[in-house]
Symmetry: C2
Subunit: 627 residues, 2 copies
């Protein structure tokens, strides 16, 4: 059975041009539906009179019969307005699985194009009626016509399901896998999805297809070999499975089924060291491997996540159209998916993303700990809300406002949430890598430890009960100080995160582009914020934020407020580990002489580890008998 | 050639009893030299007249001839006073490699024993002249006679070089290996030492033997097979080599040369995970594996380190006599080497030891950073010296006093040491394990990060130069506050360290004995201190120090001082990461309601991670729509 393509849309959308190019590329015949109009229809249109459904009846019948003939004869591309659903139903009545390609553009864009165009028998005054008639389909490929005809044609070719095969495959229909699949299907790609049908997962695929029956471009599989066979080569297969050993097991199952040049994308939270290993292993089999961090939770995955792909650049180019299409958009409308760097770099920066997220959450928790001593949840929410409307706006601050306001009956729901913060282990990865790479990373580590200590709930309660109540000195908190300290600590947090990436970049020869990273984190992900947008600009100047004078001035100014905040913590017996750590990092980073000379002297005393001298800082190692 | 043993010492030292038991054990003949005196000598002695060298001449000649005869006949044990070197030379003149076993005791001890003894022909009044004559040998086995005859005999058996073979082997003559070898040789063991003779290590063994020629019980090898062959079975071989892959390589070389039941001891700073793996691997070959942490630096290794052996108990029992003999002694005179637990537990606690050490050093550095703003090194030394004479005494505080006082010409040497503190990577292990095990461990981690940040010296100097000088509010520091805060922080440090071990003990089923660990850390190691001695007693009550009321009271009292100290740090722009972390840990540990409810609500908001409820703390997980 040969392929039939119907390129459709209002007059002026470019369907003839695109249709011809597509037919040329595919080596099949091209037809323009306008050429099949009876003479009376052509005359009517040239007089500026819109056709009615009666006028179209015979014309559609002829086209329907022709399409059936062309399908038998070797396939064809038909350019046809096909504005209404019932026209399209008529057109597809005699062919099997036609590809619908809708060229979509705004009224203004098309009007401009029509005005610039000459020699066409339909004037732009008919355009309004065409837009009135247009019923946008829920199926098929929707193509934005803003780009050049060549780009549009390439886009179509990259997405159409050739030889009855899918463009893309998703392995694993968990929450994230299912959401990403619908996101991909929304973009019009023919998509194969796979989930194993074992035990409690027996009905996963069939349930998913049933719940999303409106997507005719979704194809479900429970047999791995069928799944792989259903995808056009070079295959693009996104694994959305639990990070860890399972990824290796699934890769072993996939490898014998794949062909050279196919690309596996690991979209889970894999450790970058595993990704480095897998890249190499899979590469030796001629298969590409992209380790892609995906942030945004279920909602992000469905509507547009931030995607951080790492691997070989050529492998990435194969999967870029789909990944970049489904990602969120930045403030300039560009995709929040962009090539990060070689091997494990994508998963590395996703790991750092999560570390920054841990700190952002802990900073808000520490502010809340102080504020709740004297303010209601509603009052705290209003303070945060005001901040969120200014330069401090962020996704996490936004949801915190909602959380503080949320009620359950007469009570604030937050007050009923147990103070035991969980973690999935991955939060500690950044800290461990920082420890390995020799990069100070106190804030992330303190944020992780703060969650750990929260888990010892019974012990805390017992110990609290053994202490006599301490008297708390309470002057009312100055909210402006809190705000300044929060700004200060967030800057330091981002600096620590980017400093960690800088060290990794140099260690692993990744050549990371921090401006690009800040950009793809500016939307779609959990740590998206106004600050991230600002950092995007700063990284044009310097990879090290502390080297930028405006940043330094902001920090020097904020220092006063952090000191005040820490004093308030001490006054109130409230522990502020992340604010303290931010302060210490700033102080230590800007202190000419640290007391580390004593430590080095101690090391030399008991272990003969030697020391350098202030009068010869880059010079030889010295050892003294200190006794 | 059969073995000849001469058990010697003053009258009353027990040489006949011990000699008989030894002969029985070895299945060879026993002779008492007294039985070979001519009648005139016996009469002289019974009249209380001391023998002179002329009296002894014929007697020694007879013994010398007899020893030669006995060596041919199957070996023998001779009990003989042999007080002077020239008598011993005479005795050994006709035999090859006799074993000299000196039973050593104080005058008082032996006098008491003689007074209690009856039926012996020599009265205690001769004892003084015997002690006058005694020339202690620099060779042979020196055995303390305080223990019971049975214990003494066992000790001898464990140490004698049977069939011309060594009791123990040391692989690797680096600083630590050489020091431990001399320590073992000092205890009289026949010892084989090995070092490869490659490149710059060509002369290591020969140099070592030449420098220590007075030890006739040291036997050097550069051929691995000869080295292994030189050790009596079951062999005990201590590896003193760089931790890492080298250990695996050396083990692979050793395995084919070893026999079932032999025991390898890894005395390096290996990671406990490697030790777990190696235990299992070597065990499968029928070879025992002991991972032994060794602390004390070069001096400790030479004079008595703290040793932390982990592995199978039966394997440990084989190596216990040597390891326990060479370790430091605790306040009660017991060895600071004691079985820790299975597989990697010995190296684990050594790792935690080093973590505690990092913090103890950093705390002193932070105090120094504050104090040096207003006091001279000499004044600071005097403050620390006073502390070190009280309950705060510790090895690290002691060396800090010396370091502060050390002068180079007119200048304090410390002032010339560059403030860039190094680390060997192992300092970060405790932090990483704590992150893995879910145990808060802020102090160790901050101490590691403080060293890291010190290494960015040029960057710090540059950044410092860009800031305007901040005005420092200086009231004179209250030294009492510093002292109390230091006590507080040290308690928290030890709690964090022991809490980490407690978690590991339960995770890996090690059944660690914290009282025993505190005991073996009470001497010989870098973190030995008066506090460690006190903890020994506390751990009899509870493994969790915070559960002990006196500890809690001390911390609650200290809290006030730490708060003051942290304020002084804020006033002076001095970063105090370890003191801050100690404070935060104490506060968080004793806070009924942490702000972690907000974090858990955020997690539930964006990731549907669910939460528990305050009205049902051990109950089900809940999820809410927070929008």
């Amino acid at each position: 059975m040969n392929d039939i393509f119907v390129v459709f849309g209002v007059s002026g959308c470019g369907k003839s041009t695109i249709g011809k190019q597509l037919a040329d590329h595919l080596g099949i015949a091209f037809y323009d539906a306008d050429d099949f109009h009876p003479t009376e229809n052509v005359e009517k249109m040239s007089r500026g009179i819109a056709l009615d459904d009666n006028d179209r009846k015979g014309w559609l019948e002829v086209l329907s019969l022709s399409l059936a003939k062309w399908q038998k004869a070797g396939g064809a591309v038909l350019a046809c307005s096909a504005l209404k659903e019932k026209y399209r139903q008529k057109l597809s009545s005699r062919v099997r699985n036609p590809h619908w390609i809708f060229l979509k553009g705004s009224y203004e864009l098309i009007e401009n194009r029509l005005n610039e165009r000459s020699g066409h028998y339909m004037g732009s005054r008919l355009l309004r009626s065409q837009f009135d008639d247009l019923e946008e389909p829920a199926y098929g490929l929707v193509i934005d016509i803003e780009k050049s005809p060549k780009q549009i044609t390439e886009q179509i070719i990259s997405r159409i399901k050739m030889d009855n095969k899918s463009v893309f495959g998703v392995y694993g229909l968990g929450v994230m896998g299912a959401s990403l699949s619908l996101n991909i299907a929304d973009k019009g790609y023919e998509l194969s999805v796979f989930n194993r049908a074992e035990r409690e997962e027996k009905e996963v695929v069939s349930d998913f297809l049933r719940e999303n029956v409106r997507y005719s471009n979704l194809h479900g599989f429970t047999d791995l070999s069928d799944f792989v066979e259903s995808i056009a080569r070079p295959r693009q297969i996104l694994l959305m499975i639990k990070a860890g050993k399972v990824v290796d097991i699934v890769m072993e199952q996939l490898l014998p089924l794949l062909s050279e040049g196919d690309v596996i994308i690991d979209g889970g939270n894999s450790h970058f060291i595993d990704t480095q290993r897998r890249s190499e292993y899979v590469g030796a089999h001629g298969i590409g491997f992209i380790g892609a961090g995906v942030s945004g939770g279920e909602e992000g995955a469905r509507k547009g996540p931030s995607i951080m792909p790492g691997g070989n650049k050529e492998d990435y180019m194969k999967v870029a159209p789909v990944l970049e299409a489904i990602a969120a958009r930045d403030a300039s409308g560009n995709s929040c998916c962009s090539y990060v760097g070689p091997d494990g770099s994508g998963h590395f920066i996703k790991m750092v993303h999560n570390g920054i997220e841990y700190v952002e959450m802990q900073l808000l928790a520490e502010l809340y700990a102080l504020l709740r001593l004297e303010k209601s949840n509603e009052e705290i929410a209003r303070i945060f809300e005001a901040w969120n409307e200014g330069g401090l706006s962020s996704y996490l601050l936004g949801i915190t406002v909602k959380i503080l306001k949320k009620k359950e009956g007469d009570h604030y729901l937050l007050d009923r949430v147990l103070d035991r913060a969980g973690n999935k282990g991955t939060g500690s990865w950044s800290s461990k890598v920082a420890l390995d790479l020799g990069v100070p990373n106190g804030m992330m580590t303190e944020a992780v430890f703060a969650r750990y200590i929260s888990s010892f709930k019974e012990r805390r309660e017992y110990l609290a009960s053994t202490l006599s109540e301490t008297e708390v000195k309470r002057a009312t908190l100055d909210v402006e100080i809190l705000k300044n300290a929060y700004e200060f600590a967030r800057l330091v947090n981002h600096q620590q995160g980017f400093q960690l990436m800088a060290q990794a970049s140099s260690e692993f020869n990744w050549d990371l582009d921090f401006q690009s990273i800040a950009r793809i984190w500016s939307n779609g992900c959990i740590i998206k914020s106004e600050l991230m947008n600002e950092l995007k600009a700063y990284f044009a100047k310097n990879d090290d934020l502390f080297m930028i004078q405006t940043i330094r001035e902001a920090l020097a100014k904020g220092e006063v407020s952090v000191v005040e905040l820490l004093r308030e913590g001490l006054n109130r017996r409230v522990s502020l580990p992340c604010f303290s750590s931010a302060y210490q990092f700033w102080i230590d980073s800007t202190t000419r002489n640290l007391p580390a000379n004593l430590i080095q002297a101690q090391r030399d005393f008991f272990g003969a580890h030697t020391y350098q001298r202030t009068d010869d800082p880059e010079g030889e190692s010295h050892h003294s008998n200190w006794n």
